[in-house]
């Protein structure tokens, strides 16, 4: 059930009506849990057992963790949870990647091996719900939150359908209290929810899905196209993935809000960032915060005795981003994507420490000029990394970049008007609109006339320019 499908609209309308008819509390939460299971079943029947296993096992492990004060026992329980969660994630997502590389390494060493391949299915949303569950277990271990007292509430937290498939990665400390002190959606919540959903649908159907066919074509055979086509396609993919993923999370936030739950924002105008550190504060925010809190900061604490702070931070950033790349998918292209971001973050750290342009800061023209250069540089790094993110292989990415950088005239020029319009409109919005604005929140608070104009504009975009058949969301594969 895709968020943009008729069956989801019908399903969600039914869930909304029935849940509003139920008394907030027990019955409603059981109903939402059942609805979430039905939603997950529409994606995979056997994998429902796996997600329920994750929820139930972590619930009981944290229950025991909450009852004991003995450090050793708590550590063992944490270890059991980590092995369980990361073991399942590793097995289903990375087993074949590991086997392929092991086989290649053995062959390189002269030992004939393989090809080895396990016939596995990737359980939908496994990366997302594993991280949600891990954050809860770690928070309970570090006594940031108490262990959840209800297995139903915890199972609902893990499976809650609006955020299940591709986030936002909501923390237990953000969502569990909302289950426990259940509040009905107010009239304002309903309007904000509708507003989020409409904006998300426009991003997905009007922009992402319209450029997708051309992007797929060019990335499928980059050797056939000229340099300009490749540059435009790389920019087009940056727009596509932003609109696809932020569109999905907007719709997820909207659905949650309509049911009376508040999820954190996941994107805040990322392409207006003036450096890569700012980019990661605006792009997939819940994931970057997860990696910051549960990987980068523990690494920083563990290596705090390292005398070179710059080297330590840079190394920890690199490790964090390489693992972030691997989280996205079992492929070297994702590792390289993470490596580029790790290097860029370390480079930015070095730049801010060194601060070579400090003398120019008081010049009147400096902020404007440097702002433009910094934005272009940041966007350049992001677009470059996204070529690896999208390319089917490292070789294809190398061919793509080789031809794009030389702006070769050899090959077909495919200048799609859809991509030109999409790239132009999205980057213009990022350039002209203030970075911290959130139209989904602002629109419902405006007076009647601008509200009507805003909703009419969104509806008109959907009914005139909305794609005929919605493509699957890109992040569903992770």
């Amino acid at each position: 059930m895709n968020f943009t499908s008729y069956e989801f609209i019908l399903f969600f309308a039914a869930v909304l009506l029935i849940s509003r008819g139920l008394r907030p509390g027990g019955a409603e939460k059981w109903f939402l849990l059942a609805a979430s299971c039905v939603f997950y079943l529409s994606w995979s029947v056997p994998c429902l057992l796996l997600i329920l296993f994750t929820a139930v096992s972590d619930y009981f492990l944290t229950q025991r963790m909450g009852r004991t004060t003995e450090a050793g026992a708590r550590r063992r329980l944490l270890l059991a949870s980590l092995v369980c969660n990361l073991g399942l994630l590793g097995f289903f997502k990375y087993a074949n990647f590991f086997l392929e590389n092991l086989c290649a390494a053995l062959n390189l060493a002269g030992v004939h091996a393989g090809p080895w391949h396990l016939d596995l299915i990737l359980p939908p949303a496994i990366s997302f719900y594993t991280f949600a569950s891990l954050s809860y277990v770690l928070d309970v271990y570090y006594e940031r939150i108490p262990a959840c007292a209800s297995v139903r509430d915890y199972a609902l937290f893990i499976t809650f359908f609006p955020k299940l498939l591709s986030g936002p990665i909501v923390r237990a400390r953000e969502l569990l209290p909302q289950f426990q002190q259940r509040m009905r959606a107010s009239a304002e919540d309903v309007e904000i929810g509708v507003s989020y959903f409409l904006i998300g649908a426009v991003k997905k159907l009007v922009i992402a899905d319209q450029v997708a066919p051309h992007i797929n074509l060019v990335f499928g055979a980059p050797g056939q196209y000229d340099g300009l086509t490749l540059v435009l396609s790389a920019l087009g993919y940056a727009v596509q993935i932003y609109c696809d993923f932020s569109g999905y999370t907007d719709m997820a936030i909207g659905c949650g809000r309509l049911l009376g739950f508040k999820f954190p924002d996941n994107f805040k105008m990322p392409y207006s960032s003036e450096n890569i550190t700012e980019f990661w504060r605006r792009w997939h925010i819940t994931l970057s915060q997860w990696f910051r809190d549960y990987l980068f900061l523990p690494l920083e604490i563990a290596t705090r005795n390292n005398p070179s702070a710059l080297l330590r931070v840079s190394l920890n950033m690199m490790i964090t981003m390489l693992l972030c790349g691997l989280w996205h998918g079992a492929s070297w292209t994702f590792v390289i994507w993470g490596g580029i971001h790790g290097a860029a973050l370390a480079g930015h750290k070095l730049w801010t420490t060194w601060n070579p342009l400090a003398a120019l800061k008081n010049r009147r023209w400096f902020p404007w000029c440097w702002g433009a250069v910094a934005r272009a540089l940041t966007l350049g790094v992001v677009v470059l990394s996204l070529v690896f993110f999208r390319a089917p292989s490292v070789h294809a990415a190398a061919v793509f970049l080789g031809r794009a950088f030389t702006l070769t005239h050899d090959g077909t020029r495919l200048l799609s008007p859809y991509i030109l319009m999409a790239v132009g409109s999205v980057f213009l919005v990022h350039l002209l609109v203030r970075k911290d604005r959130n139209f989904a929140e602002e629109l419902p608070r405006m007076s009647l006339v601008p509200r009507v104009a805003g909703y009419a504009g969104l509806f008109r975009l959907l009914v005139v320019l909305g794609a005929t058949d919605s493509a699957p969301f890109i992040y569903f594969q992770f």
Partner: protein
């Protein structure tokens, strides 16, 4: 007024504005919103009329007025953009006095992964559900077919809904036309439309040659087509079943049934008709011919030299030259002794 009331009011007014805008855009771009348009081709002759089931591939490919003349009978048909046997089956019974039935097929419009945009407006929902049950269709296919019904209902309010690619193409051509007009030139057609029996000499669109297209234009068209396909390409499914039912109906009434197979351009075939699929198409035609004894198969796709890119105005439609040659080939085959009733 309460907050909820104001929100509902805002939403209703917004929907109304969007609906008016959608109708305005549809009218400006001349979007085809009528599912089926009746046509009667040729002059009344001494023979009973014939029924024709053909999408734009058959409509563009053959000068049916001339065929009607050679049969000395009128040909009755309905123009359905992207029409397939599933839709034409609904109209067959509307020509009870027909003595000849022409059904035009190709590897393009008999492909099960391509749905007619007007199917839900023509085929009753109950009939579609029954057909999907009979076919034991998988959920993805059933979903893509059934989702056309709410789309059709919503199109009453928003006629442009789900037609964005066609709209953008039409808008581009419309703007080009306006530019030409402002420069004093006469405007051409804004794109392909089914014009049964009309001489094509005045039609700028059908005068172009696919072989003259730049490679990027061909790629753009292929991408646009790729988007229209839903699911795997196949020739064994509801369309073929509907074709067999139409032949059964014609046979039961003692009609002469002629299946005309049109050629499709090289780029389309190379991109979408893999050798295995081509074999499946041949097997389907053989089964269809064997299904109803006496079914005449006219293979224009096998006429030497006809299916070259010089004879197409786009990836699937023949141009004026191809149309003339295809019409002559069909007329000749109909005159051949094997095809005489």
């Amino acid at each position: 007024m309460s907050r909820s009331g104001r929100f509902l009011l805002a939403l209703l007014v917004a929907v109304a504005i969007a609906a008016v805008g959608s109708h305005g855009v549809a009218a400006w771009l001349k979007v085809k919103t009528r599912a089926a348009e009746p046509f009667t081709l040729g002059q009344p002759g001494s023979n009973p009329p014939a029924f024709l089931a053909a999408s734009s591939v058959g409509g563009y490919g053959i000068l049916w007025d001339q065929i009607a003349g050679s049969l000395d009978a009128q040909i009755k048909t309905w123009g359905i953009a992207g029409g397939t046997p599933i839709e034409f089956e609904q109209f067959q019974k509307l020509v009870p006095d027909a003595k000849t039935t022409f059904i035009v097929v190709s590897t393009y419009d008999l492909d099960e992964s391509l749905h007619c945009d007007f199917r839900a407006a023509i085929v009753p929902l109950g009939q579609t559900i029954a057909a999907l049950k009979d076919e034991q269709a998988d959920w993805n296919y059933a979903e893509s077919v059934l989702s056309q019904y709410p789309l059709t209902w919503l199109r009453t309010l928003f006629p442009t809904l789900g037609r964005s690619r066609g709209l953008m193409g039409a808008a581009r051509l419309r703007l080009q036309e306006l530019v030409r007009k402002s420069a004093g030139a006469t405007g051409g057609p804004v794109g392909p439309a089914i014009k049964f029996g009309k001489g094509a000499a005045d039609d700028q669109y059908t005068e172009q040659r696919l072989s003259d297209w730049p490679p990027a234009e061909v790629l753009n068209k292929l991408v646009a087509m790729q988007v229209d396909f839903q699911g795997a390409h196949s020739f064994a499914g509801p369309k073929t079943r509907a074709l067999e039912r139409m032949l059964d109906y014609a046979h039961a009434r003692g009609e002469r049934a002629i299946v005309v197979v049109m050629p499709i351009s090289g780029p389309y075939t190379r991109e979408f008709v893999a050798p295995e699929l081509a074999r499946q198409f041949e097997a389907t035609l053989a089964r269809v011919q064997g299904h109803v004894p006496g079914t005449e198969l006219v293979r224009l796709d096998l006429v030497p030299g006809l299916g070259v890119d010089e004879h197409f105005c786009d990836l699937v439609h023949m141009n004026v030259v191809g149309q003339k040659l295809a019409t002559e080939a069909l007329a000749a085959q109909l005159r051949a002794p094997a095809h005489q009733p």
